[in-house]
């Protein structure tokens, strides 16, 4: 059994986001995001709405999540595994499946692997290119789009390997059915 951190906050570097640099290849090749980025979050964008019926009871409708994450800056580096794809999407205005790849989220809350991880299909969309003097910045947005699978990750010599759990979790944001919770008002 792995030792788990029991006290003290996790450093930000213990939450890792990686994308498959093959963009649809048979075997994923994970590229770690975060270099030069000081602040990056998966914005969950939860949707709930509240309605009140004629009995003055409030009903909360949970419409799930619309998560997205922005990697900004991403300084164009021809040595990066994702560079060719990001460049092509941005400059050739690619869309649809050309922008589709996989996102891997890993939280390192144990002192040794394997670590808890989630893999999901996603769309990568550059939002701009250019930027100030010092480097060509191509920030991009990552929008998860389903097929979320939980599992574990091992990291050996810098190589990340994802293994799906036997029981997959599919709690994806956009395809979830709405849940109703009622509270007396």
């Amino acid at each position: 059994m792995n030792d788990t951190y029991t006290s003290g906050k996790l450093q930000r570097s213990h939450l890792r986001h990686l994308i498959d640099s093959t963009f649809g290849g048979v075997s994923p090749s994970w590229f770690l995001l975060g270099k030069d980025i000081e602040d990056m979050s998966m914005e969950l964008n939860p949707n709930t709405s509240t309605v009140k019926n004629i009995l003055d009871e409030s009903s909360v409708k949970d419409e799930g999540y619309e998560p997205s994450m922005t990697a900004d800056p991403y300084y164009a580096n021809p040595g990066d595994a994702i560079y060719d794809k990001v460049k092509a999407i941005a400059f050739e205005r690619k869309k649809g499946d050309d922008c589709k790849t996989k996102l891997l989220e890993v939280i390192i809350d144990k002192t040794t692997g394997p670590y808890d991880a989630w893999q999901e299909d996603c769309i990568v969309k550059p939002t701009a290119y250019g930027g100030a003097q010092g480097g060509v910045n191509i920030p991009f947005t990552i929008t998860p789009c389903g097929n979320r699978v939980s599992g574990t990750v091992t990291i050996s010599n810098g190589v990340v390997t994802f293994t799906p759990a036997s029981e997959n979790t599919n709690n994806s944001e956009s395809n979830d059915e709405s849940n109703d919770e009622s509270n007396d008002g």
Binding site: L32, G34, I37
Partner: protein, 141 residues
């Protein structure tokens, strides 16, 4: 090479510097020295990579008997500033615990190049100039 060793290496390769001392110069013209005065973390990315700034003082003793020599001395400091600026990209390392981190110099800036003192209390024995140097560099995990 840590950032101090790298900056000494860069200065050693400046054609007009023959011998570079540390912290203090000879009092006679032709004496040069580099002093490290501080290092500060500017920012860190979410992977733990750091951008840091290291501050140096550079001292040089020249002959400065008249305006012509002192103008030449200012020209030396200008040439040196541009030489330093052109060395951005040089590799640096740092030791953190059991790990050796590597990175690059992003920029080298200079400021406040000025006549600092008269070691012999007269312009005939040489005049000491100072140049503040700041180095912005990265270290990757």
């Amino acid at each position: 090479m840590n950032v101090i060793e790298r900056m000494r290496d860069i200065l050693d390769n400046f054609p007009e510097i023959s011998v570079l001392h540390q912290d203090m110069t000879d009092d006679s013209p032709g004496g040069y020295a580099l002093a490290s005065v501080g290092d500060v973390l500017l920012s860190a990315d979410i992977l733990g990579g750091q951008t840091r700034q290291h501050s140096f003082m550079f001292y040089a003793v020249f002959s400065g008997i008249n305006d012509y020599e002192r103008i030449a001395n200012s020209g030396f400091l200008l040439d040196l500033a541009m030489w330093l600026e052109s060395n951005a990209g040089a590799e640096v390392t740092a030791v953190s615990g059991n790990d050796t981190l590597t990175g690059n110099i992003k920029e080298i800036n200079t400021a406040n190049g000025m006549l600092l003192s008269l070691p012999d209390d007269s312009v005939f024995g040489g005049v000491q100039y100072q140049l503040q140097i700041t180095v912005v560099y990265t270290l990757e995990v």
